[in-house]
Symmetry: C2
Subunit: 423 residues, 2 copies
């Protein structure tokens, strides 16, 4: 595809996340134009438009119809920052319209949606990328860098989780009748790991899933669901619109994935019970070392055994070259840089006409975890098969080592990796 | 049964743990006599005998034949501190000989062994107790106390683990030809959670398993096994007797148990990879609060969210009355008191002629986790049924609240719980 100097984006979904990413990232990129924005809510559209005009952009066209955005022939790319419903179909339509497609994190509702993405990609060659920002988290990137350098030896197990007291997020006091509360609706009706990509995305990179490895089976287990109901009873009261809600989704959902190369992965969803801190529970275990978010410890075989947080020393030594560069050129965006970096990864791929560093196969595989976990839980924790979306190509696909946002590159001398085109 | 002032014990198994418990605990109890000790190794017998004579006891009779110990009519109780093989059969024989029976922690090899214990108990009424010291750990006891007081609300999930770099323990340099290396043999030939009671024992108490609750299903998953082989290669070398060992047991074994009351339990075995600290990963999650060993945090709903270790404050306020008493009367024994307390729990039950606080049903259920996890792993993580060793009686069995070592008692005023007969 042709190289571009400016990327014209259709922006679908102007809720909290959509507005945040505009405000913190996209509105500040000199090589990005956003001529059209889309949302079901007038209020949200106005807020998003204001973010753009306040930062010196022209007022965008506003629409409630995502199909209009897809049909706009002046656009290079579309970002779907909307809720989970129908997102795969929107993405597939966008790819079929020849537009680079980015989607926010989330799950499919059914495995068929993942195949729809793959079909669209294989038919058109147009890339789709889940904007999984945690793949660009400083800790996760350093771990990947250390894994690629072999410092942890052979990797045998990883942990991850989305452990975040979201009781208030799920039951907001400001209810907007124009937009569905897609998260709460899922909690009410479905029992599954509904948010698996913050945890599994970075692990997928560590384990080279879809590039030399793949997920084989997935088993999920849900505790009883008590936390949200008790939160509503205790904190919101009988007059709350949420009172008496019958929640199906277990408070703690544990998922175990087994991989073709013999690794196991443990994921945890933990969003509806009181807990004092946010954690992605990120942990990588190898034959020569480990890293663990929990105590912020890196341990290499032979080091004195310690209980002390030593992660900062390792950041100094083994920060991923991309993070090093990001800091050197000036920190921007939210969430410690990862929002900026994941956005740039997408934009740079569009500009260069290359595949995205999180590609269609990654996106489909990660989105599959939701419906697969639902199935396993419904069958009492029976292991379910994870589809091979690459149809066997994982055996020969190599890690991506070209492109500054590829993540997989190993760099001995970080200084040589400072690119001059980081915006 | 009659009450006793002195308990005469036959002591089977004088290895590291057997000697340690003699040296730290049993040899120092004024109401305990150990007239006979048993081991396959002459060297170990002599060492154990020396511990007794050095602490003012008569030299014990020594034998290599556990059947001789069982047949000794002068004994009140037998402690089996030996390896895992045949332990259930020994215990059943001991019970059938009318002797209170204690066994060290460990698993059955087959579910039938667990039923053998149950049969022996139900036929004879003679108690058997697994001396699971971690049930008497300060942290675990405080958590149980807080659970019983309702401070964590309804409990929905627990975590536990045996996370301990045991690579050197499994491959000792001093090989005693008289005694089998039962742990290494299991690592070599079997793929399972071989050490589940340090983690599950205290959780079983928290969840009232066998007394109002029970385990329904168990699923286990093993990572590839690389850690021990790499340790042998890297640290022991080609001349080591362990060189070239083909290990079957996965480095990380995760087990998920589902319970009749809807709780989930996650257990982890993690013994053959480099790691910088020992942990039992103990964590209790409820609708109103949680405790976690990992960051040593107790959190109750409504408290300010904090990352700071606050466990010590809670120890002051919610220490289990038994631990409080133990400290008040003078700390003794190893492992922060839990070895002493679990030993006293057994001895006191024998003296009073009462059932043991960890009883035949607990012992059988906990020992079952090993072979069940082996079965599940062999079937690709398929959930396996956990037998109901109580044959339905769990529905109506009440928590034990009598006897100072019962653990389940709730005590509003800890001072009233200071017993004068703690030795």
């Amino acid at each position: 595809m042709e190289k571009k100097t400016v990327v014209r984006i259709g922006y679908v979904g102007c809720g909290a996340r959509g507005q945040g990413m505009l405000r913190e990232c996209f509105a500040h990129m000199h090589d990005v134009e956003i001529p059209v924005i889309c949302d079901l809510s007038e209020k949200r559209l106005l807020a998003a438009s204001a973010i753009l005009t306040d930062t010196g952009h022209d007022a965008p066209k506003m629409t409630r119809d995502w199909r209009e955005v897809v049909a706009d022939e002046t656009l290079d790319a579309i970002l779907f920052m909307n809720g989970w419903e129908n997102r795969a179909a929107m993405a597939a339509a966008s790819m079929r319209a020849g537009k680079y497609t980015g989607i926010e994190v989330g799950c499919a509702y059914d495995i068929r949606e993942c195949w729809d993405l793959i079909d669209a990609f294989e038919e058109t060659g147009v890339p789709v990328m889940m904007l999984e920002n945690c793949c660009y988290g400083r800790r996760e990137m350093m771990a990947l860098n250390m894994v690629k350098k072999g410092l942890f030896g052979e990797i045998v197990h990883c942990d991850g989780g989305y452990m975040h007291n979201c009781r208030s997020v799920f039951t907001p006091s400001d209810i907007d009748p124009d937009v569905p509360n897609f998260r709460l609706e899922s909690m009410e009706r479905r029992n599954f790991h509904f948010y698996p990509t913050h945890d599994f995305g970075p692990i997928s990179k560590v384990l080279s899933v879809n590039r030399g490895n793949r997920m084989l089976t997935l088993s999920s287990f849900a505790s009883k669901a008590r936390g949200l109901a008790e939160h509503i009873d205790t904190h919101l009261g009988a007059d709350s619109p949420y009172a008496g809600m019958d929640v199906k989704c277990g408070d703690i959902v544990d998922t175990i994935i087994t991989c073709a190369n013999g690794e196991t992965v443990h994921l945890r969803l933990d969003t509806t019970l009181p807990r004092p801190y946010y954690s992605r529970g990120f942990c990588v275990r190898g034959t020569k070392g480990m890293c663990t978010e929990d105590r912020r410890i890196i341990y290499l075989d032979g080091m004195a055994e310690t209980m002390t947080e030593n992660e900062p020393e390792f950041f100094e030594k083994y920060d991923h070259p991309l993070h090093r560069e990001y800091v050197a050129l000036g920190e921007r965006g939210s969430h410690g840089g990862m929002d900026w970096l994941v956005s740039r990864a997408f934009i740079e791929a569009v500009k260069r006409g290359e595949n995205t560093p999180i590609d269609a196969y990654d996106t489909a595989a990660w989105m599959a975890i939701g419906p697969l976990s639902e199935l396993s839980i419904a069958h009492g924790g029976a292991p379910v098969d994870v589809p091979d979306f690459t149809r066997g190509r994982w055996l020969h696909r190599e890690p991506v080592t070209a492109g500054k946002y590829c993540l997989d590159a190993v760099c001995e001398d970080p200084d040589t990796r400072i690119f001059d085109d980081l915006d």
